[in-house]
């Protein structure tokens, strides 16, 4: 039954990748990247269970923590053109 779920997650992953290639704006691509990250975590956990090695969950947790940071960094880069910026600049916009 894990293989059913793995297949479903792989189909969803293919659709998300298609959207990220097709997406008209950069936000579509950032959102697709976030979704691909979520699906990759699920895939890691499911493969770990299917092969009887749940140690993959640690990698999944790390990937989940990096996923939010990555999305926020991409958004900040496209909003300000820079990852580090001043607070006053944000106040004035």
């Amino acid at each position: 039954m894990f293989y059913t779920a793995i297949f479903a997650v792989l189909v969803a992953l293919a659709l998300a990748v298609a959207r990220s290639l097709k997406g008209p704006t950069v936000f579509d691509r950032a959102l697709a990247g976030n979704t691909i990250g979520t699906l990759a975590i699920l895939l890691l956990a499911l493969i770990g269970f299917a092969t009887g090695r749940p140690e993959f969950l640690d990698i999944g947790i790390t990937y989940g923590l990096l996923n939010l940071i990555g999305t926020l960094a991409v958004l900040k880069f496209f909003r300000f053109g820079d990852i580090g910026h001043d607070d006053e600049e944000e106040q004035s916009t």
């Binding site: 779920a5 479903a8 969803a12 697709a32 979520t38 699906l39 699920l42 269970f49 939010l68 926020l72």
Partner: protein
Amino acid sequence: MMSEFADILSWIALTVGAFFTVVGALGFYRMPDVYTRMHTAGVIDTVGAGLLLLGMILQAGFSLVSLKLLVLLALFFFFSPAATHALSRAALHAGIEPILHEPEANENERR
């Protein structure tokens, strides 16, 4: 007896979670603009991931593995709304208008 009950329950959770994951991804591919796509990405992040992880928790029983799965579940529940909020705020700031009216002759389903 008890373990078979948990087995059946986890099978149901995994199947329904897989179904919602595919439905969310299908909507994510088909929706017309970025805000509606965020909405369907939320289906994957809440129902899909939640039910899949619940199925795995039932399969793992009371152990360290299920604790890790619970941490992953909490991670999804806190980080996915944060990321979606940041995305929609950035998209609004960049001047992308949400679709507020039904476009004529369009068959977009309301889910």
